[in-house]
């Protein structure tokens, strides 16, 4: 795989569509084309796998706990709100 290969139209087209491919937002024909290309282009395959992994890591990142003090403060603010919601 060389830089020239990545300037190849096929590689560029695939590169642009990788996220949509990962998200299952492409039609079957385009998916088949991408998979066929990735089988023969290790750099594109590597790019696809590292991007898939990036998405998977993002999905797994854990949330922080809300600070207790802030949660308590929110509760107090809510308690002081009017006793009914009113249409604007």
């Amino acid at each position: 795989m060389t830089r020239d290969c990545h300037e190849h139209q096929h590689c560029l087209e695939m590169f642009e569509k990788l996220s949509e491919y990962i998200d299952g937002e492409l039609d079957h024909a385009t998916c088949d084309e991408i998979e066929k290309h990735a089988k023969n282009c290790v750099a594109c395959f590597s790019c696809m796998e590292t991007l898939k992994r990036t998405v998977a890591l993002c999905q797994k990142v854990e949330d922080q706990a809300i600070p207790r003090e802030f949660s308590k403060k929110l509760k107090e603010i809510i308690q002081n709100l009017p006793k009914t919601t009113t249409p604007l």
Binding site: E49, K60, I66, L88
Partner: protein, 206 residues
Amino acid sequence: MTAEKNQNRKIVKDSDFDLIQAINSGQADKFHDLVKRYEQKLYNFSLRMCRNPSDAEDMVQDTFLNVFKYLKNFRYETKFKNWLYKVAASTCIKKRRKSKFAPDKELSLDEFLPNDEAEKPDNVPEWAMLPLDKLLNEELSGVINKTILELPKKYRVVIVLRDIEGFSTAETAQILNLSPSNVKVRLHRARLYLRDKLKGYFENDP
């Protein structure tokens, strides 16, 4: 809205439907239950949108106050969670307009194109192949959170809503008042930016 349009209006009955009905029917004290349901998620969304915990707390507080103010006007045309994030995103944008932020930097697709030096041709890096649970630790979570904060806000909000909060492309587009294709473009660039940073992190890992 005409009576006919009202009749044809689609009502989304999600898990918050009954609670919101109760609040809007006079049981405003139940608003706290709604806050408890979402404060954790909203706090983390705000932390990822703001650069410090104090601003994040302000954003959460303002969002809930706005939600209370406008709840009676909520028409159940979408899931409540989507509407909540729309209010949160709008609160965040309004706060930003009031401060002196520089305009968002544009991320170009060209800057992420793999090249010969960076992308070895004959293998996929180990970090893309290892089981996720062997890879993700506190340090890596910190790198991901820090990198997300580096992203220009218009890209950051999209990757946070799509990949962390789990909204679909259509939902994200609705929350941010963007076209689905615009969401896709921003998401792809944000992911590529994060991927590049992760590559750098793993390549420099001794």
